[in-house]
Amino acid sequence: MHPSPSLRLWFGAMVLAFVVLWSFFSPRRQTSSAPGANLITPPSPAIQLPSTAVPETKRMKCRELFQAACLRRGITSDPTGDVQPNVRGEIEALRLYEQIIHEHPDWTSDQVDEKLVRNIYTERRRKRMTEAYGWVVQEIKRVIDSQTNSVLSPSLKAKLKERIDSTSLELPPPASLYESEPDLFTKNEMYFESLESGRRVIRVGGAYLLTAKSWFNRVFTLAHELSHSIDPCELKAAKIEPASYRRLARCFYQNKIVKIEPDRLRCDQKNQLGEAFADWMATEVTARAMERYKEKLKTPEDNLHAAINSIRDLCDQEPWVAESETELYPDPTIRIGNIFAENPKIRAILNCEGTSDERPYCSF
């Protein structure tokens, strides 16, 4: 019943040939990381695309980026990391919260919160955020400086950059830093707010720190929030109303990005302009990030995955319970399809086929 020596020799040769061929042609994962030395590169999970999603070909239609990003099942890894589903981080944070209460039944909610933030907002995770934030601050200021003086006057540029610089990224501990928003510790959210004290802050939910490992996701999200410090409605509240912003608002309306005519914009209603502006600026910053670190994005798939992870958080949004005539945010298909995917730099990086929209991409 034993195989003959010649058969064993033939079988051994086949195995050796297979190993040699596999070592040449097997897909390799990028193990080096983009900016930020402490980025995590988890193994790439198998990605299953639903039948409605676009196939990952070398040339895609950028208009279909929404489908590629939002109808995708599974987790997308780019060379800098991945973005876990929102709910996963929130469940993990809630488990930590419950565990602390269980282990310390005599503790007050303040004590529990303090322990929770020390477990979640670790030095390593805080550093990951602050490094990305520092990069985003510099890049938004570069975008401002790159405008001609006829578009943004030197004094306006100085005001905008001052607002960028004076906005703070607030990261606990201590837990009391989020005294008015203690529920944020277990949420996968990041937000910008002008406080009545005059301070402008960006706050980051604990669950976000647990889920967003992709550098490109952090760049887009932080750039979006920081852009609110110079968005048309925040500037209007500060009695700054540049002509270039009015032109931009008209362009957003003409390109069907916002629903309300610019002349009717009052910023005391949910007019979508602030959110559209923040998406538009964050897209420019993300495109620059992808250009700057193109040596890390070696394949078309790397570029596509970095783009998908950048905008992954735009896929899900809910109407507010007290919403009136319009929603606060433009629809996700518009945010991704008409803003992100229409940016000329993004189109070039993703090597999109076909021409862009017939309407020109909006600029200052």
Binding site: H102, E179, A322, Y329
Partner: protein, 149 residues
């Protein structure tokens, strides 16, 4: 004179609190932050008190709570609503990115307030939400804790 007013107010408040005990009482705390909506629905009937937490349209957690804990949250809600009636949590200087709605309903009253959490007056809502979340993360109320009529 002021002492009389305070005494009179306390009498009314304690009367309201005691009246609420055997009725259907509903409390809703809804707020938005970023593109996410959060909602807590608390409901007390003569038989039990429950709490439900929603994120967007999804029910995240549902549990029974003790009548004592419900009463604490109800009193805190009433206090916040009374304070917001005097000083609305409106934000004057810039757009509100953290809007909220707070509602309280029983047989006698149907109160509600809207506002912005980042206003000075709206900050009180953070404490209420924290108390609700702490309650939900604590061990569930045993059935024996539920009032038997």
């Amino acid at each position: 004179m002021n002492g009389r007013i305070v005494l009179f107010s306390l009498t009314i408040l304690s009367g309201c609190a005691s009246m609420r005990k055997s009725e259907n009482v509903q409390i809703e705390i809804s707020y938005q932050r970023g593109s996410n909506s959060h909602r807590y629905l608390l409901h007390e009937t003569p038989l039990m008190a429950t709490i439900k937490a929603f994120k967007d349209q999804y029910l995240m957690k549902e549990m029974d709570i003790s009548f004592d804990n419900f009463s604490k949250i109800a009193n805190e809600t009433s206090s916040i609503l009374a304070a917001l009636k005097k000083n609305p949590a409106a934000k004057e200087v810039s757009p509100c990115r953290t809007p909220f709605v707070l509602r309280f309903k029983d047989a006698q009253e149907n109160l509600s307030a809207e506002g912005c959490r980042s206003s000075n007056e709206g900050a009180a809502l953070g404490k209420l939400i924290k108390d609700v979340e702490f309650l939900m993360a604590s061990p569930a109320a045993p059935r024996s804790d539920v009032r038997q009529n």
